[in-house]
Symmetry: none
Subunit: 242 residues, 2 copies
């Protein structure tokens, strides 16, 4: 049995590119970790773990997609269950020097679990043929968790702490990451609405396979991009202290 | 099930040699990274990532080729989508000390995406039996991107910056890499013209399987050779500073 990738399947293309991009990014973060100053080593390790966890899941998801043509919904949420909380850890580590408490981390994780649980119900238990009301109800519930994270990053605790930070590099990086949450994360709900019964599926006839097209693109931006922002911060801070 | 490699199939031979050469080169670059001076560690890491990404894709491509006898076009472009931009990063890192800006990197990456998108359309959507006009039109469009990179390396920003560099080692290396882009990269369009309907296919009856023969040879030269040039520079500069 050999893997054949149809040349006209952008979903398959992004699954494969995503797989190898995640793997390469992990190698990058793990190696470069040795070059940054002590206080940023933990953050780089987390960046590498996020992409490494994703690489393994992409390895399974691409094969699943190639052989069935279906959305690997379970694997997707298995991945997010691990990687989204780790992204919350990144926010916590960035603002820790400015006084972030464990409770901030706990709140962010609760919000992401909320977001993912309702998203999973929305996708995994979408009735045969697709139900718009089902997808809207659980989509909206999920979005509440997303909005909480957005609020925290832009206005709430994370934004406040970053403002108090005496390190302009941290202020700048938290601001960039907040943009990631606003723009990069917003690609996920677009993908969600492509499932049978979803708004974009109904309004524009977007295929259910586009769910994964959007998720793959968003994952590449957010997991690798997020990591690179943290890496840039770490590298610049290392230089500053040298 | 065991892999059997026909003794009279140069394409299969180069897929296997290419696979292991890429893997060995990655191990080489990753290990030697620890011996070069700090400012070159990132460049060596990128060299290793380029060959590592290729090694994984060669692993799949050789099996695909052995079991189907077809060109693994999708996998080939999945590989280039990741490795060509990383080669642009190498150019950027080399000229950074002489003042290269992020915009140089962005321009080089846009040119390579242009080159690859049209090349992909040319190969993947070549009509059954092969169309000369199709392959020529998209080949020419793709070549415009290639020429832009060539121009930048020989006359444009990269060449100018390298001239301004106060490090003769960098000047020499950028010149060698420009030769790679001129000679080594030119092997790819030769492979492209072997596909059904391509000029070399029609003029000399060169087989469609030769597409991959040329791509494999070119990849070995460019990915590993490019990396070794950067390695030589890093090693000499480390010695100079010692
Ligand atoms: C708002 C919303 C969603 C948001 C998902 C997000 C924001 C996922 C983020 C994942 C990340 C950042 C992974 C990185 O490792 C769902 C669940 C699609 C359901 C529809 C509503
Ligand atoms: C000009 C041209 C092409 C050029 C391809 C090149 C130049 C690929 C380079 C790949 C490299 C350098 C990979 C290294 O990792 C195509 C797409 C075959 C299409 C025909 C016209």
């Amino acid at each position: 049995e050999v893997l054949t990738i149809p040349v006209d399947d952008p979903v398959a293309f992004t699954f494969f590119t995503g797989y190898m991009a995640m793997m390469a990014a992990s190698v990058f973060f793990f190696f470069e970790r040795s070059r940054v100053t002590g206080k940023w080593k933990l953050s780089l390790l987390i960046s590498g773990l996020i992409t490494f966890i994703a690489a393994v899941h992409y390895y399974y998801m691409r094969d699943y997609y190639l052989s069935t043509g279906d959305n690997p919904t379970a694997l997707r949420y298995i991945d997010w269950t691990l990687t989204v909380p780790l992204m919350c850890v990144e926010f916590y580590l960035l603002t820790k020097a400015a006084g972030a408490k464990k409770s901030l981390l706990v709140k962010l994780i609760i919000a992401s679990v909320w977001m993912l649980v309702f998203g999973y119900i929305g996708e995994a238990f979408n009735p045969e043929g697709g139900s718009t009301s089902h997808s809207v109800i659980y989509g909206v519930l999920s979005t509440l968790g997303y909005i909480y994270i957005l609020y925290t990053a832009w206005i709430g605790e994370v934004a406040q702490l970053s403002k108090k930070s005496d390190n302009p590099l941290i202020q700048k990086s938290v601001r960039i990451l907040a943009w990631f949450v606003l723009v990069g994360w917003a690609v996920y709900p677009i993908g969600y609405m492509c499932m049978p019964g979803g708004w974009l599926n109904i309004a524009f006839g977007w295929e259910p396979s586009s769910v994964d097209l959007f998720y793959n693109i968003a994952d590449a931006i957010n997991k690798i991009g997020f990591g690179l922002v943290v890496y840039n911060l770490a590298a610049s801070d290392t230089e500053r202290l040298a």
